[in-house]
């Protein structure tokens, strides 16, 4: 919006009316009704959900494309840049709190629920054979026996992969700040490939858990916390990898300057965030 300063960049930026939020809202209507019917076994559920994915992809390409065009045409001044920085920081804060709910569930299950289920009252009245140890399959004998996954080898390799990807991303950032475009694109590509290798290892680990260890989402509280924590983390790695891919796509189109490249930094912040969450998982889920 328009109070042009001497440089031609407006003091404030207010976009003109846009259809993308409405497209997104329609997508999420398909999400809500689609997922609710899918989990209840309605045959059209998966189709509604597929429509949600399609509309969401359309919205993201269209909306992010519009933002990239506005950014490249110099509509975003200093103030908009600061707004982006604040908003990404607060978004990551909200993501931290989302993971806190699941880490909190793990803490509660291990440190409060398990000792409670094994205390004198429960042992003398309900479940005399229950051993209050971690991991456990619950006191009632409703969970099939399972084995757990230790930190070695795959989780440790995955730790190394994510930490390395953080380094390569920083190398890419330095290349961007020095305006060396070829190394920039190369190290971005390496970062993204490391991310997908991580996901590949994790998929292998899940298959291994299901087929050989009998460790499943339904393996009592251990399986619940294990798969929900690592699963949501894997989902966030996927989102981060998509962000980095979008940034790489823009790098190849010649976007960003050594001074102005917040999209790159935002994706990098997010990537470091999923990295830190992984370190927490590595310690409390695999090690302890």
């Amino acid at each position: 919006m328009v109070s042009a300063t001497s440089s031609g960049t407006p003091y404030y930026f207010v976009p003109h009316p846009s259809k993308w939020p409405m497209v997104g809202a329609i997508a999420l209507a398909f999400f809500g009704f689609g997922l609710a019917s899918w989990v209840n076994g309605a045959p059209f559920g998966p189709w509604l959900f597929a429509i949600f994915i399609a509309i969401l992809a359309y919205m993201m390409i269209g909306w992010f494309g519009a933002v990239a065009r506005e950014s490249e045409s110099g509509l975003y001044g200093e103030r908009v840049d600061v707004s982006f920085r604040w908003s990404m920081s607060w978004f990551i804060f909200s993501e931290v709190m989302f993971f806190a709910a699941f880490f909190g569930a793990l803490y509660y299950a291990r440190s409060i629920a398990t000792p409670w289920l094994g205390d004198l009252d429960h042992r003398s009245l309900l479940w005399p054979d229950f051993q209050a140890t971690w991991p456990n399959a619950g006191p009632a004998g409703v969970v099939e026996p399972f084995q757990t996954i230790g930190p070695w080898p795959i989780p440790t390799l995955n730790t190394a992969l994510l930490l390395t990807s953080g380094v390569t991303l920083t190398i890419a950032h330095h290349a961007l700040k020095d305006n060396r475009r070829a190394p920039l694109a190369f190290w971005m590509l390496v970062t993204i490939l490391l991310g997908f290798t991580f996901l590949g290892f994790q998929a292998y680990e899940y298959v291994h858990a299901y087929s050989e260890l009998n460790l499943k989402l339904s393996s009592g509280i251990f399986g619940s916390t294990f798969f929900m924590l690592t699963g949501f983390h894997g989902f966030h790695v996927t989102v981060g990898a998509i962000m980095l891919s979008a940034v790489l796509f823009r790098i190849l189109r010649g976007h960003f300057t050594p001074q102005r490249h917040f999209a790159f930094e935002a994706a990098a912040w997010y990537w470091h965030f999923v990295d830190v969450v992984w370190l927490g998982l590595y310690v409390v889920v695999y090690w302890l």
């Binding site: 207010v14 809500g32 604040w86 908003s87 989302f98 006191p139 499943k216 619940s224």
Partner: protein
């Protein structure tokens, strides 16, 4: 007035000056005033839907015995009344106020992220349609109470899944809205307005947005665990698999208790704007007001288990949560004291915004005191889940949040529409609401103390008289809100022309722009002295 408004020579990026019209203006909106208007109408529509739910409940409870509703449907109505009022009416109404007022009060041209703003809004009708459709699926809507406690919430039909996904969408809407508001306040203030000179309404919203960002994701986690327990075989809340239903209560109330402050802090902000204007004195103790708001927010995150005194916890835990909860009375007392001190020896007049503000202090204080009583663990064990708690939270939510919303509407509606509202209708609305509110909710204290449990479709004969009174009051309160609707419609259609300043002693940037506020304001930032 320092803003240059819609001047024709400035079309370098002229599209922003378009006045979109027709359906595109609303569906594709990027204007904070239009989006604020949509938020406010949506929340009022939800207030009526949730109100109809409540009146159906009260009709059933008019007499002992079962007259018009099956108990299962009664439980659905109880649950949906809570969900719709909390997530559909009160929270979006405050976001509507933030949309309209924050940019005007800090001298910004719009919200920081205009398209995101519209996305936040349009998720709400989607979520509301999920909730309303859930009445018509097999098994009906969720009947687990608005807290959706496991294991009950793990057992219900598809209506529960729709409610969970509706909560996800409303949570996403709140998170995006909060990021927008927090960024706008931190980064878009006019030059010369440091944080400690910002209007109190903006301060309360800044802190509310922080709370929303801290706890809405936790609610998302909690209901996701319910969803996977329901359909994917996890055992988070199932003791047989090593989980614990009590864990749900902890995670839920870690969200749920800050949530009640999310619904009252912006109300404090509105009251802190209204009272200085009509007392013709600056707000007493501005900085103590800021610190009190921040203290309430921080304390609100460490008191959640006072909702669970009867659930079972070690006595040390009970003591901690009891004393931490009682501590909140201190900053809240600071606020009440400051409002009263602002009025002290002020040159007061009692237009409708001030009536609602003074009424707010009066009835909210009652709700605050009953909260303090229930914070005492041994007392709470007696009155837990009785009508005493129903009385308490309606005193803070209806007489607190809703009265503040009315106060704010009367205060700013001349700025929004350009017309003065009908003062006679406003006074009728206030007195009718105030009297019928107390007829409805005051007797609930007695019912609760006498032992009548909440969320029951039937009750023994000894509770009959008070329940009849409550039902009569509830219908009176419901009908009183039609006066408000009529006032709003008349104010939009016409009425005396409002001046720029509207109120004699109103201070703040919003009063420097014309009434009605033009489509675009503060395109160049004003200078604040």
């Amino acid at each position: 007035m320092s803003a240059v408004l819609d001047h024709p020579g400035d079309h370098a990026h002229g599209h922003a000056h378009d006045h979109p019209s027709g359906w595109r203006r609303w569906l594709y909106a990027t204007n904070h005033k239009d989006i604020g208007t949509m938020y406010l109408w949506f929340s009022f529509a939800m207030l009526l839907v949730g109100g109809v739910n409540a009146l159906l409940l009260r009709t059933e409870l008019f007499q002992p015995g079962l007259q018009i509703l099956r108990p299962e449907f009664f439980n659905q109505l109880t649950t949906m009344h809570g969900l719709i009022m909390v997530f559909g009416a009160v929270m979006p109404a405050f976001v509507g106020f933030a949309n309209w007022q924050v940019p005007l009060m800090i001298g910004a041209s719009d919200m920081a992220f205009a398209r995101l703003n519209n996305f936040s809004f349009w998720l709400l009708p989607v979520a509301a349609s999920l909730l309303i459709v859930s009445y018509f699926v097999p098994g009906g809507a969720t009947a687990a109470g608005w807290t959706l406690y496991a294991p009950l919430s793990v057992q219900m039909g598809p209506g529960m899944d729709l409610a969970i996904l509706a909560l996800h969408l409303m949570g996403a809407s709140s998170i995006m809205g909060s990021i927008n508001i927090i960024t706008t306040i931190l980064n878009m203030r006019a030059p010369g307005m440091p944080l400690m000179k910002m209007p109190m309404f903006c301060w309360t919203w800044l802190i509310t947005a922080y709370l929303l960002l801290a706890v809405m994701p936790v609610l998302a986690g909690a209901v996701t665990m319910v969803l996977t327990d329901r359909h994917f075989g996890t055992s988070f809340f199932n003791a047989a698999g090593g989980g614990d239903p009590v864990m749900y209560q902890h995670i839920f109330w870690f969200f749920g208790h800050p949530e009640v402050y999310i619904m009252i802090l912006p109300a404090f902000g509105i009251i802190s704007e209204v009272i200085p204007t009509f007392a013709r004195k600056p707000l007493f103790g501005y900085s103590s007001m800021v610190y009190a708001t921040a203290s309430i927010a921080i304390l609100s995150m460490i008191v959640w288990a006072h909702h669970m005194f009867t659930t079972g916890m070690p006595v040390t835990g009970q003591l901690f949560f009891m004393y931490a909860t009682m501590l909140i009375a201190v900053p809240t007392g600071v606020k009440i004291f400051n409002w009263v001190a602002t009025m002290w020896r002020g040159s007061m007049t009692f237009e409708t915004p001030m009536l609602f503000a003074v009424g707010f202090i009066f009835v909210f204080a009652i709700g605050g005191f009953t909260g303090l009583i229930m914070a005492v663990a041994p007392l709470d064990i007696q009155i837990h889940d009785t009508y005493y708690i129903v009385a308490h939270f309606h005193y803070v939510l209806v007489a607190g949040s809703l009265f503040a919303l009315f106060s704010g509407t009367y205060y700013w509606i001349p700025k929004w529409t350009g017309h003065m509202y009908d003062e006679r209708l406003g006074k009728w609305h206030f007195w009718a609401s105030m009297i019928t509110f107390n007829i409805t909710f005051f007797p609930m204290h007695f019912l609760g103390l006498a032992g009548m449990p909440r969320r029951y479709a039937d009750y023994p004969m000894q509770f009959a008289d008070f329940n009849a009174v409550v039902t009569i009051g509830a219908f009176g309160f419901g009908l009183s809100q039609l006066i408000f609707l009529w006032m709003v419609i008349r104010c939009i259609k016409g009425g005396a022309k409002a001046s720029d300043r509207v109120w004699e002693n109103a201070h703040g940037l919003e009063w420097t722009v014309p009434s009605p506020a033009p489509f675009h304001t503060f395109e160049t930032p004003p200078v604040v002295k």
